[in-house]
Subunit: 603 residues, 2 copies
């Protein structure tokens, strides 16, 4: 059974040494609430909760799964108690508005904790996880009455939330939704339709569930401009705000899935359910994007959490498992064979996991600072800059960390050899759970279109320039640092190439819009590798400085430098392939007609 330790030392490195969180928190007016001591204590306590409460339920939850009985969903053994524990501990509202029951700590702290939850029990973590998005949407778009009724309960975790978007015939293309909302004449609406893939749509952890539902008003314009957002509680709140009458929303069935078995993925039937409009009519998609952007970063954190969990366990196995001798001669001559960590290819897999998990953590905590600034930044220009940069990084965080998260969990499984395929070891569960992260909240393909089409090209490259300028400045500042040459030179080269590549795609796209789609996923992966190279170069700088100042923990900083070198030498070269594929353009993708794809087997 897998073990897990919260990576507290590494978080300290990223937050304190690399990204100077103490100053950051001071700048956004959270220096007192989120002092280094408090942050340290919260992370430590969160790590303990993850390890002691959630981790023991991960394998058993996967095995048991959820069960639908008489319309009610029974979550696996222990899940309800763990959730109660979580609510008692005050975790749900950690980074929520104090006006609505939250503790007002910065969002970034919640994201660091979220990584731990995802590492220890992704399926469990999705129950409270979905509430955040729902709370955010109500916080930003709900009426005062809606906030009073629903928000505090969500923040305190007494109730949980969902996002009801997808329908059987449409996921990406929400303009096609068929769920209808009819005014009931008393200010509310009757919601009717079927939603699928509703995570935590029904469960036994909380006394009420607050569904945020996309539906169409009778007079709605066609397509995505005719979508409105509604809040539809499972139980309609009574006069005291407690769960009252059962609403017309029920779980029709549970999906049988490849992974996250312990999370209830529900078909939700809305049958004249009472709902209340959130925000303006026909502006639902914009409101929903509030939730989706939060959720997308959250899914990137899931990828990170699973990488870390897989890495820790494959490392333990690689140290323990004896098999074959090192090619250059025995390393453990007293044992029947050497531990497999001596073999270069096992090290390649371990270092891939390590470099991606630690680099992913830098990326998440870098983005987390931007989230903090958008929420609490005192300066409007600074807030705007953070928002723009965050909009650029969101699809990268989501898609890059989940694509690479899948790879890294697979490397972890591979290190176990045939044992990796056996459920008891827990390594294959990380792979199965990681697989969904490439799909939900917008597939990698959708994220890539968002990045290249909406974020980069629609802004004429300005959004990207904001980031490449920051990288450029960093490279210039370190240009004479001989110790960092192996990082700064390739980074500066790639940073320049990123701009050129973007320009080249933009020019082609003016002739043919399909060139955007043809380049998009390679472009996203390329962008992810360069972004991580920037962060690894910064980590290398911090580590080199720490070693020079000889403050102790030299092994830790040397390991960072070694991992940075591995990243630059053995992962970053993947950009070469992506560049060539992007430059090849879309012609070879578009040539074949849909009919001719199957000529090898269709009779």
């Amino acid at each position: 059974m897998p073990d897990y330790q919260a990576p507290l030392r590494d978080l300290r490195f990223v937050m304190d040494e690399m990204l100077d969180y103490p100053s950051h928190y001071a700048r956004i007016g959270k220096g007192d609430d989120a002092s280094p001591d408090i942050v340290g204590a919260i992370l430590e306590e969160g790590g303990r909760f993850a390890r002691e409460v959630l981790l023991p339920l991960n394998r058993s939850g996967d095995h048991e799964g959820c069960h639908l009985e008489g319309g009610e969903v029974r979550t696996p053994k222990g899940f309800k108690q763990a959730y109660a524990h979580y609510v008692e501990g005050g975790w749900p509202g950690l980074s929520s508005d104090p006006d609505h029951g939250g503790q007002g700590l910065p969002a970034s702290l919640g994201m660091a904790l979220s990584e731990m939850i995802c590492s220890s029990n992704l399926a469990w973590g999705m129950y409270p996880g979905l509430s955040h998005g729902a709370a955010d949407a109500l916080h930003q778009h709900g009426s005062d009455e809606q906030k009073a009724t629903y928000l505090t309960k969500l923040v305190e975790g007494i109730w949980t939330g969902t996002m009801c978007l997808t329908e059987p015939h449409c996921g990406t293309d929400l303009g096609l939704i068929k769920t209808r909302a009819t005014p009931d004449g008393e200010g509310a609406y009757r919601i009717t339709g079927t939603k699928i893939f509703i995570s935590a749509g029904e469960h036994d952890l909380a006394e009420n569930i607050v569904h945020l539902v996309l539906a169409k008003l009778p007079d709605a314009p066609e397509g995505s401009k005719g979508i409105s957002l509604f809040v539809v509680p499972k139980f309609l709140p009574d006069a005291e705000g407690n769960p009252g009458e059962r609403n017309g929303v029920t779980c029709g069935s549970l999906e049988h899935k490849m992974g996250i078995h312990a999370n209830a993925t529900c078909v939700m039937n809305f049958d004249e359910a009472t709902g209340f409009l959130v925000g303006a009519p026909n502006k639902g998609l914009a409101c929903m994007f509030t939730m989706m952007n939060v959720a997308r970063i959250g899914v990137g954190v899931q990828g990170l959490g699973l990488m870390e969990a897989s890495f820790q366990n494959s490392l333990a196995y690689a140290r323990d498992r004896l098999q074959m001798r090192a090619l250059s001669g025995p390393r453990a001559p007293d044992k029947p064979a050497d531990p497999i960590i001596v073999h270069p290819d096992v090290r390649r897999m371990l270092l891939t996991q390590k470099a991606l998990a630690e680099g992913g953590r830098m990326l998440v905590m870098y983005a987390a600072q931007l989230v903090d600034i958008t929420e609490h930044g005192s300066d409007a220009a600074e807030r705007e800059r953070a928002e723009t940069l965050l909009s650029l990084l969101t699809p990268i965080v989501k898609a890059f960390l989940t694509e690479l998260g899948f790879e890294a969990t697979n490397e972890g499984m591979q290190i176990f050899g045939g044992h990796g395929f056996v459920q008891e070891w827990g390594m294959e569960q990380f792979v199965r759970d990681a697989r969904i992260t490439r799909l939900y909240e917008g597939t990698t393909g959708i994220q890539a279109l968002d990045l290249l089409g909406r974020k980069v090209l629609m802004s004429q490259g300005e959004t990207l320039k904001m980031f490449t300028k920051e990288i450029h400045k960093f490279c210039q500042a370190e240009a004479d640092n001989a110790e960092l040459k192996a990082f700064i030179e390739p980074l500066a080269r790639l940073n320049g190439e990123w701009g050129e590549l973007t320009m080249a795609i933009g020019m082609k796209a003016m002739q043919d819009r399909e060139e955007v789609g043809a380049a998009s996923v390679d472009y996203l992966l390329y962008s992810g590798y360069v972004t991580l190279a920037y962060l690894w170069a910064r980590a290398a700088r911090v580590s080199a400085q720490a070693l020079a100042s000889n403050d102790g923990e030299s092994a830790f900083y040397r390991a960072k430098l070694d991992t940075a070198r591995f990243y630059f030498q053995r992962l970053l070269p993947r950009t070469r392939g992506h560049v060539e594929m992007i430059r090849a353009g879309g012609a070879s993708l578009m040539a074949l007609s849909a009919e001719d794809f199957g000529l090898g087997f269709e009779i």
Copy 2:
């Protein structure tokens, strides 16, 4: 539920048009047995069996799994009947020696059929699949008496076989095995020990199971030079050769696995079981390699089969599923949205599957000709050449087609969006089933060491040169073919680079043996991409010729050329990353000490 059609047209292209199987069969003296008509009829009938008998049991078998009850394994519903059907049809001995009940058709034909079985039901296919290796080992190394007793039964499929190698503490490192064989004084041995991961170790499909078991004699030398091979039947044959007394070998438990649920993966306990020595004492590993080489190519075919199955179903979905409009404007304006096959990134995923499945088929059937020649070639020099080339290609077939098979099945799942994660669609089963192929019969890492260390470097590059010379000749012959320029030029360049890269690694390895392991997996993948480029270039040549001669089916040949172009433009550039990573060497892999890997989380 997935559908499947045997790719008969594509097989005809590969076998008849590209690799000239009719002449090949004539040359190895099988022209009459394996005439084009007979081959066509067998493939068609095999495709029907796969589709009508095996395919309907694939999802249900995955869902039901195997059950161990009172020491007996119950396979999923329908498996036993399907196996009886298979035996009645005379399929098991298709390419076996007629002296032992086989039909004497070439091995290549069996491999083409094997692809279909793997596409339709991998877990089922493993039951008869394991018998081939066991039969081969007995055929080559067994005594006349052993052949008389076991071989015909295996060939006819009345009994099935296993390979019992792995033990709890060792898989790759078979020198560590603990299973003991003690002479019983009457010419037989008492076998005692525990074997794990024994596919088809126990089941209800056949009346007897013939285990081929690695064990150590009392006086055996240490390590891999002290391993002997034994045949250990589940039931000891009586005087008439029918199953008699129950032998001391039992199934202790079944593994719970990520995939291939319908195949029984057994812990086998040997408790003073009666066994008979196969071949010479202490030469068991060499005998076992007979089985393993066959099995390794067989696993590559599994990767191929799963790619094809996934591709066919994702293609159907991509044509059917309506979502979003094409970036360049509506393609199906009469429908609410366009079928997703209009989107370039969906096409990229489909073409990746198509190019890898069709290219993989070329590789398998190319290797299959070599297998035929090693078995039936009339000329000793030709046989030796085929053996050498096959030894080079075996790890590529195994590891490249399974690594890429996993990728391709994941692409298929990705095309389904969130639905891909739902079991009912069957796409995630292809992924789970494909995952084991990267692990068993030697992980990708082990195949890579075999390729680079044993096959390439140990022969001073001579083995590789045999193949690159063939590619070089092809490139020279087509150097003036303007139509093929886009294929021949990059292929010739890569072919030259392959040799240089090998030389560079060889030089480094002379200084430090660890450089072999550091380069190995990147080298294997690089080799796979170049090998497939060679075969795709040959396919392009055949297709261009067919189009020029205007014999009809122009859509088929144009599709081949389009797919070849896609392969060269959008997959082959991956070699760029691998070259850079190989050239970077192993320093960044070896720097970190085993202790320092975990400093981010270990307290």
